[in-house]
Amino acid sequence: MSEFIQSLVRGLGNGSVYGLLAFGFVIIYKSMGVISFAQPAFMLAGAVTVTYLVTSMNFYLAVIVAAVGVALLGMGVERAVLRPMIGKPVFVISIITLGVDVVIRVLVGGWLGLDVRPVQDPWQLNTVSLLGTEVQQRYLAMFVTTMVLVAILFAFFRYSRMGLAMRAAAFDQEVALAQGVSVGTVFSLSWAIAGALAAVAGMFVSTGAGVDQQLWIIALKALPVIILGGLDSLGGAVIAGLIVGVIESLIGTYGAGIAPWMGGEFSLVTPYLVMMIVLLVRPYGLFGTREVVRI
């Protein structure tokens, strides 16, 4: 039982990180209809920034400053290379974000230097007792932080004027424009939110061992997650992230006992297998909007 709870908590923790990343992808998708391949670079940039900031300030402050910094970077990228592309084919824009990813990743990688850098988080590898089982604090921190961030964002979309504008723009850009919504600001803000979330996710991933250059690969896990949740569902992204995290973790714990043939790299394909199985039944993911077909 304690093994199960530990595995579950670990899955929820990692799953929250996937959820944060997926949330960023979905926000950008909803506003522009584009999959941004620049998210991995933002994640790495956030984590590296934190490692430099913590040497001179409080950890939480460092995370906030880093998130704001990456948010500004995201806004800058959107303004400089994506705004001119409005109305152009979405896959062309996606390939542009790929170019952005390469540029940022090489620069940040150079900044990172040669050694693994710690984020110096307060949780370390400390454990806390939960239902009689020792579980790591950092997984709980991941889960709680994600839930709080998501709740804040949902409140923002629901109750603020800007949130309303973003929902309107996601629903129909032209109509929103006609109603006086500044669609440009909506784009800017969605890139900022996505950047900030990626930075937080990057920091969380590095809590176990530190930041190295290969951190960005984890961001790719968000791709099957967003499809599983439904491309245009923010809640779906978070739930799917948790689902993938938990399934991965449970397969890691019990898979070798049940089916040893799966091998050590099986966890890399689990998210995709889960995604494919779900899509066989629900072609728009768990919570995606079914497209209305008309001629």
């Binding site: 290379v81 896959f91 390939i95 542009i96 790929l98 099957p224 491309l231 091998g263 394909v269 995606g288």
Partner: protein, 372 residues
């Protein structure tokens, strides 16, 4: 009925056949002919290292044409192209491999045999995947096909009898034509020259086939599905059947490309067939021009030659330190950054790709000296 040509009126067609002809204007015929001659003479004028890049570009072009059929013409965005390339590469190398080697091999080394087999098996996989793909649209389809790439990599890393130890890989297909090895240096011509010709010929054959396909009934069905699938269904295009056909043909091209891709480096690993490769194929058709055969070829050339171009650039840019590892931005970092910047800049400048630039140039000269 074949229409007559009117001199000085290249855009005037007097029959449908004339309009839809493979090379519908005289200048096109001439230019294609000249280009072909130049391409054939290339091995006499450039060094082997460039020639090898060009040969690789030819192979990538075959794959890009395949992706353009399913993505550009039929509108089904696939990020799974690398998976089908992998199927082709492994089929060909298993068929032609050394029967006594440490990985599986059957010793059938004739190029046409393994080329066709690679294409057919990849096509079979394409047809197998298509029914699932036919249920999905847009980005859903893109990411599901991406799943194929990850699953394929997993399988080939585990299946060491076929793929060799992960990260060491297996030998590439052995090419012989009528019993003669073509991947060895001859007395007068090098192996790279021979292989370049082989790959160029394959490219020309498959480019012509693709061009013919897209101006056929099937090609028109693809376009109808791309433009509005519901409308296509209403006018009597069976959607699933044509999507299966599109995936199968596209995968056939991918398989052929996979079979030839590693003949020059002579060895390959499962890690080659990654998300990066799929994305590169997408970049090729976007940069070259969606739904054009010549665009696919240009895009493949561009993406294959881009790293070489960026490696020449730092020499002329003064602000980069010429040390490869010292402080500041090093040459190699500058190269990697330039690669990204060139892709961004290029698509910002002309989202329709190289083909778009060509259209602009052509329109400018058509109205010359009057601009509009």
């Amino acid at each position: 009925m074949r229409g007559t040509r009117l001199r000085g009126r290249p855009e005037l067609y007097t029959s449908y056949q004339q309009d839809m002809a493979l090379l519908n204007t005289t200048p096109k015929k001439v230019f294609v002919g000249v280009l072909l001659v130049l391409a054939l003479l290339m091995p006499f004028s450039v060094d082997d290292d460039i020639l090898q890049l060009l040969a690789t570009a030819c192979v990538f072009a075959v794959g890009a044409i395949g992706l353009n059929i399913v993505t550009g013409y039929a509108g089904q965005v696939s990020l799974g192209h690398a998976f089908f390339v992998a199927i082709g590469a492994y089929t060909a190398s298993v068929l032609s491999g050394d029967p006594d080697g440490r990985v599986l091999g059957f010793g059938v080394t004739e190029v046409p045999v393994w080329l066709l087999a690679a294409g057919l098996l990849a096509a079979a996989f394409g047809a197998l995947v298509a029914p699932l793909a036919a249920r999905l649209r847009g980005l859903y389809l893109a990411i599901v096909t991406l799943g194929l790439v990850f699953i394929g990599q997993f399988v080939f890393r585990e299946w060491t009898d076929v793929a060799g130890p992960p990260d060491i890989g297996r030998p590439a297909p052995v090419p012989t034509l009528f019993g003669v090895r073509i991947d060895v240096d001859g007395e007068f011509i090098t192996r790279v020259q021979k292989l370049y010709w082989l790959m160029l010929v394959v490219l020309v054959i498959f480019a012509v086939l693709a061009r013919n396909l897209v101006r056929s009934r099937t090609g028109r069905a693809f376009a109808a599905i791309r433009d509005r699938d519901i409308a296509a269904a209403v006018i009597g295009v069976p959607l699933t059947r044509y999507k299966v056909i599109a995936f199968a043909i596209s995968s056939f091209y991918a398989g052929v490309a996979g079979a030839l891709l590693y003949v020059i480096p002579q060895t390959f690993t499962a890690g080659n067939f990654s998300l990066l490769m799929s994305v590169q194929f997408i970049a090729m058709i976007l940069i070259g021009g969606v739904a054009t055969i010549s665009g696919s070829i240009l895009g493949a050339l561009f993406i294959t030659l881009l790293p070489r171009i960026t490696s020449e650039l730092p020499a002329v840019l003064p602000f980069i330190s010429d040390s490869a590892t010292g402080g500041g931005i090093t040459v190699v970092q500058a190269e990697a950054i330039l690669y990204g910047l060139l892709i961004i800049g290029f698509l910002l400048f002309e989202p329709r790709g190289l083909f778009g630039i060509w259209i602009r140039v052509r329109n400018y000269w058509k109205a010359w000296p009057f601009s509009y």
